[in-house]
Subunit: 212 residues, 2 copies
DNA sequence: GTCAGAACCGCACTCGCGGTGCAGTACTCG
DNA sequence: CGAGTACTGCACCGCGAGTGCGGTTCTGAC
């Protein structure tokens, strides 16, 4: 209500630091293996300080997921806008964005790539309804964004065979998620880039300009 | 060394029961959220009994992954053999097996589909070297199996454009993994089947019989 | 200058869970 | 009958999540 939430108080910094530390640790080791003691030691505060900011550990996780959703949302939107400004062709813009997105997904703040939503989905039975909704929201947003562009591409380059554009959008998400898991365990050559190349080839085959 | 390991003693039954219970619980809630107390309560034994069978909780996880690897290995091999006996065409046999594999992956013993290896990959930083090797082994096995068949298909139907068969094999695995995550959180329509249909379409496009 | 509120510190304590140690026991097989 | 297998029962430890609450410091509003 007041103006206090306008200036970046030092409380917000601490909160952000805790979330940053938690995000890295959770992507690396998982939610349960990340202890509050560990986080507060790195942040240089006490346990009381932690519980001042977050009611419990689960609340921290939810906040993390909310922030992650917002970050991805803004990032994807920006990538699309930039790509669409650079490429007049809708298909080119989509392919460009997909590559960038895959690269961004691979370049996590941790040593191994990972996705918070995926991590949570394999832990604690999604905790509760709210948690599941947060994960779902992120998935649906990506699907909508990609689907929109697929529709534009389909309008310009009508595919010979009927394709389910929702499924095609999901495919991009699934490939990124799957490639991330594989790259988490298989060190040497990153799988992600090769997979995105294949997906791009697929899209080009479906929306072949020569058809019409 | 002795003959004791030949007959199915009651000890092996208890051990199997613990592993079955643990597998379901871990796929549902994750490794850390699955407590030993919970497992022994369901199995009807005491804590001492648990530690008689497994040195610690991590050993149980590794055994689980070993068993899972063996099961998938045998299952995939059998699927391929059956499909290859039914379909003289290598591509048909591969496509048939892929569909079956996706179905099997979706039909887990739990309410939500899931993969032990994926679950572990997002927990505890893969625990240790041995754990990582177990996950890697499973991934590599699937890749080899699929790649072999892709080679046969490529031999019969040479693709117009050069494709990385390893990447194409990885794609199948990535899609299954990704679809599984999505189906874990998105209840209504299963994503897996649609994704496998798309993958099949992709393979058919690559190995189009009309080319040569 | 004071006073409220934000952002913590310190401490004591609970509970669940992983894990240890060890003594005792029932069942089975050679 | 004795040895091993497959446990039970109990006591006990340490760590991590979480609670409760009183005290403290700094900052901005009046």
């Amino acid at each position: 209500m007041t103006d206090t939430d306008l200036k970046p108080r030092r409380g917000e910094q601490t909160r952000k630091e805790l979330m940053d530390l938690a995000e890295i640790a959770i992507l690396e080791k998982g939610y349960a293996a990340t202890s509050i003691d560990e986080l507060i030691a790195q942040a240089g505060i006490t346990k009381s300080g932690f519980f001042y900011h977050f009611g419990d550990k689960l609340e921290l996780a939810k906040e993390l997921l909310r922030r992650d959703n917002a970050t991805i949302e803004a990032g994807l939107q920006q990538m699309f806008e930039a790509a669409e400004a650079a490429h007049p062709d809708p298909l080119d813009a989509l392919l460009e964005t997909m590559t960038q997105y895959a690269q961004a997904a691979s370049a996590s703040p941790t040593s191994r790539p990972g996705c918070l939503a995926a991590a949570f989905s394999y832990q604690h039975a999604l905790f509760d309804e709210e948690m599941q909704q947060l994960v779902l929201y992120g998935l649906d947003f990506k699907r909508r964004m990609i689907r929109e562009r697929l529709e534009r591409a389909a309008a310009k380059y009508p595919p010979r065979e009927r394709v389910d554009l929702d499924a095609l959008a999901d495919m991009a998400i699934a490939i990124v998620q799957g490639a991330m898991i594989m790259d988490r365990v298989r060190d040497p050559p990153p799988v992600m880039q090769a997979q995105m190349d294949l997906y791009r080839t697929y899209l080009r085959a479906i929306f072949a300009p020569r058809a019409a």
